[in-house]
Point group: C2
Chain length 395, copies 2
């Protein structure tokens, strides 16, 4: 088999919301489709991928460097011994003549291609991706399927809400709770202790017995961090996310040493190199803290398995691994690799978040799709964006 074409499109995500770090007004993401020469019912089998959100689309790198490099490679270098497309072998080709270090946009471009290749691969095997991943890693498979933990992500700052900000937040949390999420994460500011206590309390009240986590997106003011952590501990939040700037391991270690509650971080580290430094220097606690490296922003499954291996060698459990990015590809990784939790937009119907159409959440658990591949075809609002990429072979 061989790849006939790879198509990408930059999708505008313009949303009137922000976290403590960035606004999403001009945010973009990339959609990708790899088209194979394998036919089913006369149609080429294709693999899709959709980006993680927050670090912009990868269009330029995909077009300028990585798509041409993969398509120019000898087709035999891209297959495994069974003659099927081998995502890891493809990543090795994509990374030819790339210098080490500098893990920024590149890991996301490579990871997006790897994700689409996994969708293609699983479709060619006629299996859901989570089963393919579990098999690759020698994990036991159950005929009855996979149930995985999922938490609901919502509660961004919405500048338009003005004085009704906390009411709006509470409504979002209540809706997430009603949708079946017993663990819900909301954004928090990190700049003013009283504001943050009020915000966390509003979310906790609205969660009606569910757990609330708070995400400060690297912006916790060092001047208030001691009292802030105490206050969040007193409120019993489930975890505090990204309290330090992502590469400031020294500050993270100081925070972890004094935090009464679990610390979660890693979504802005995009490689095994960086995750290893987090492990070496971040002072995180294997018995409670959470690692949130984003799989498709970090070169994909192959690199993520190296990260898992490093953490497991250091005494960490896979249950502490909670990948960032609420997309379907990550859900398969969580279900197939036995990770701790999947992050999902708590509004399941969103095109760029949520789960397969009709997925039920019960006590923050979901059942993995049995559709072949990632099952994008069973998320109609997202397929509106992906389908055109796979349809015509004319350039």
């Amino acid at each position: 088999m061989k790849l006939l074409a790879i198509r990408e499109q930059t999708i505008p995500l313009s949303a009137p919301m922000r976290n403590a770090s960035v606004s999403y007004d001009a945010m973009t993401a990339s959609a990708l489709c790899v088209i194979s020469d394998c036919l089913v019912d006369g149609q080429p089998v294709v693999g899709f991928a959709f980006d993680s959100i927050g670090r912009y689309g990868k269009g330029g790198l995909l077009r300028d460097r990585f798509i041409p490099r993969l398509l120019a490679a000898d087709a035999s270098l891209l297959l495994d011994s069974s003659g099927l497309i081998d995502p890891s072998a493809c990543v090795a080709v994509l990374m030819q003549n790339e210098k080490e270090g500098g893990h920024g946009e590149r890991p996301g471009a490579v990871g997006l291609i790897e994700a689409a290749l996994w969708d293609l691969r699983a479709k060619l095997e006629g299996k859901p991706l989570w089963r393919v991943l579990a098999q690759q890693c020698g994990r036991p498979l159950t005929a009855s399927g996979a149930v995985f933990s999922v938490y609901g992500s919502c509660g961004h700052f919405r500048p338009g809400r003005g004085a009704a900000e906390l009411d709006g937040l509470a409504a979002e949390v209540a809706a997430a709770r009603a949708a079946g999420f017993t663990t819900v994460k909301v954004k928090i500011g990190g700049a003013n202790l009283e504001d943050d206590v009020a915000r966390a309390r509003a979310a906790i009240d609205a969660a009606a017995g569910g757990r609330i986590a708070v995400d400060v997106n690297g912006k916790l003011d060092p001047l208030i961090e001691v009292r802030w952590l105490e206050a969040m501990g007193a409120l019993g939040v489930a975890w505090v996310e990204e309290p330090a700037s992502p590469l400031d391991y020294q500050r993270l270690a100081r925070i972890a040493a004094m935090s009464p509650i679990p610390v979660a971080t890693g979504e802005n580290l995009f490689s095994w190199d960086d995750a290893r430094n987090l492990l070496r220097y971040g002072g995180l606690r294997p018995d409670r803290d959470l690692i949130q490296v984003d799989i498709s922003l970090s070169y994909g499954i192959g690199e993520y398995l190296r990260i898992l291996e490093s953490f497991e060698s250091a005494g960490w459990s896979r249950r502490a691994m909670v990948p960032h990015a609420g997309h379907l590809f990550a859900a398969h990784a969580v279900a197939g690799l036995g990770l701790g939790m999947h992050e999902s937009a708590s509004d399941l119907s969103l095109a760029f978040g949520g789960l397969w159409d009709g997925t039920e959440i019960t006590e923050s658990c979901a059942k993995a799709s049995e559709a072949p591949g990632v099952g994008f075809e069973f998320k109609s609002r997202l397929m509106q964006w992906l389908r055109p990429l796979g349809e015509s072979l004319s350039p």
Copy 2:
């Protein structure tokens, strides 16, 4: 004043050579031109920049994200109190709604724009950039100009040379010596001790009393590192460059602790965040080791000044700062900020390396250009690429 347009072009650098890490067959770099509405002799004043080489052009990021963002900004946000373009203010605009961490391609795209803005700014002041930078930092200026140290970089592996590899290497080093470089850096493999000793010895012999540094581009085999460092020490090489993978600070610290010779590294760290981790964890020795962060791949002069401040606070001298990248912009930074050495291709006539046309090297020292801005206009082979970007205002 305002910016009318920013043009970029990806330049193919296809060169039949490699280092221990990558081949340059398909390498690219970016050329950039910012066009202002200030007129001199009826022509708009423009600023040019040319990329550092080794990590590919930044075209996609420039077109998709950073050029539109800068041009869409309120013009007043881009100026200082004197009404002139302010490169640091422009970087603040470029980094709006960018998450922290993930310093890969982004710092190079931002750094390239910053470099072109510095060229523009210095031209508007009618001064060479090194004088503008020295003034910004409160460094004393001499009317007679600036002389800065420069080492010659050559000795890549050239697969076409076959058995004549060492003869070819020796010829390159001898030519560099004849051109006035008394310090010359060559590439070395890191995989086989005997091969590397032969290579270093051939270079040392050809240097006829000059100093030879060796660059292993992160590929020193851990199995031979102890004997390799001893051997390089016995040969008296000037420094060993990038012995460890760029983000493996733990290994770097182990190597620094046992290396009898200076260790140089940092060219694949692209931010103050990463440089601070090098400082915290890399175990480098302020009395002898060298820091090679690449200014225009790392968000530019503003970020580099933060890096300088961190290292100086930790007891380092500016003389230990030896920026990667043999381009004219870096030469101004070395001359203007009082850094240790400039890296230059030892073949001064190369379009994408070397110095201003006619620059003389004496005992590895050069005199900084007095032309306004960076003085690209006085490097004719590079201007063949840059001039068209500044010429027509039609898109």
